[in-house]
Subunit: 259 residues, 2 copies
């Protein structure tokens, strides 16, 4: 499965035509799946009123994104505000040709900005299947909690997609370079972490988007400042030796069986 | 609290006189606590028969180590085989002047070598207090599971001491450079990871012992090949800003309160 991760410049307007262009670029690169940041539409820093208005239009936005996905044949995972159970949520949405959309609402909201705009989700992401890989969804701060990736890996995920919007700083560098690869290593899964770079009216972002392998290596990592399209071929069969040497999930199962 | 971590050369014999010399070096450096690797006595690669014989002598060994601790005034954490409930265990033992020894038995044994020699522990480490810090114990493979550090941090640990014996290789480098600092960052605690370097008759070790801070920085890290004494001053009050910015334990408490 070939993944195209798009690190986006928060200073440039992004709309449906630009998403369509990126899906076309992903298709030209042979990708099966395009992955974009948190709240890709209407932009992370758009503010609570715009986020709410965008959430109310989400069914239409998702229908139009599904048309782009059907037209290009490239699946799409990205962050969007949605209304769910009457509440505005910070969601990751997954679309693939010929199937119903899947979505997940962020459980760990970060800071007052998000708590003012969103209600937290309550449910674990569904697993979707694409090109033989089982895929789970998280959003940004969620992945910093080892519990979230563990529950997806235990449920059988091979790949965790994380749209993110990481505020610039030393802690952010540590998260992108060490913590996210550790989530991949400690669960024997791929983790794709698609971030913004640059600044919008509200925030400056870290960049350093990364596609991490089950052995902790960064298969591809973006820089801090520039938008980028990262490509990686994800084949779980190539990591059987590393998973056998560090079979964390098997050890946990064996241990819970003994007790 | 000043910590002295001793990365030891597995190719050199280690006995009580050498431990005494290291405690004297730690005292000369102003350290409150000396931290040494997994199975420091009789050596990780000594083999099942020697490990069992050493475990049977553990009460005498611990009494003699306690004398060295009392004489130097420096607390000591190190790995030792012990007999507990009639079973040979791979333990971390903590000794400080004027107090009873504390110990923890490794729960996640690594590979056939350890499973042949030891029975796994069942209990979480007690927390001990030294110079105002609450300290928990793990051994080697244990720390690779995020669940183990999480339960110690949730119980109130400021510092987790991990005697280790990390087999040389790419996975080991990732563990020492990325995974162990991530454990510190994701829990807002200090993690001290004391490894062997060099080789014994059975194994080659990775070195790269590290003292990681609550912001994920390595306060000190040893090289791959040489024995070393690392020194670091551990002050939780210096990391209140980073813990407030990334209050993982608080978020988990708030979330479990909502459900």
């Amino acid at each position: 499965m070939r993944l195209a991760l798009f690190q986006l410049d928060a200073g440039k307007p992004l709309g449906l035509p630009e998403v369509g262009d990126m899906l076309a670029s992903a298709r030209a690169a042979g990708a099966d799946l395009a992955h974009m940041p948190e709240l890709a539409l209407p932009g992370y820093g758009a503010g609570a009123a715009t986020l709410r208005a965008s959430a109310e239009q989400a069914p239409d936005t998702i229908a139009r994104l599904a048309e782009l996905v059907a037209r290009t044949g490239v699946a799409l995972a990205l962050g969007l505000p949605v209304v769910e159970d009457g509440q505005v949520r910070n969601a990751a949405v997954f679309l693939q040709p010929g199937k119903a959309p899947a979505s997940y609402a962020k459980r760990f909201l970060y800071g007052d900005y998000e708590r003012d705009a969103f209600s937290p989700g309550e449910a674990v992401s569904p697993l979707v299947e694409l090109a033989g890989l089982r895929i789970g969804l998280l959003v940004c701060f969620d992945v910093e909690f080892p519990e979230t990736v563990r529950e997806l890996a235990t449920a059988g995920a091979d790949l965790v997609l994380v749209p993110t919007a990481l505020p610039f700083g030393d802690g952010a560098r540590f998260i992108a370079r060490s913590l996210v690869p550790t989530r991949a290593f400690e669960n024997g899964v791929f983790v794709s972490y698609a971030d913004w770079c640059g600044s919008d009216a509200a925030f400056r972002y870290q960049g350093l988007s990364v596609i991490a392998a089950p052995d902790g290596r960064a298969l591809a990592q973006a820089g801090e400042a520039e938008p980028d399209m990262l490509l990686a071929d994800l084949d779980p069969a190539g990591f059987e030796a590393t998973r056998a040497a560090n079979d964390y999930l098997g050890e946990l199962r064996a241990r819970s069986g003994r007790r």
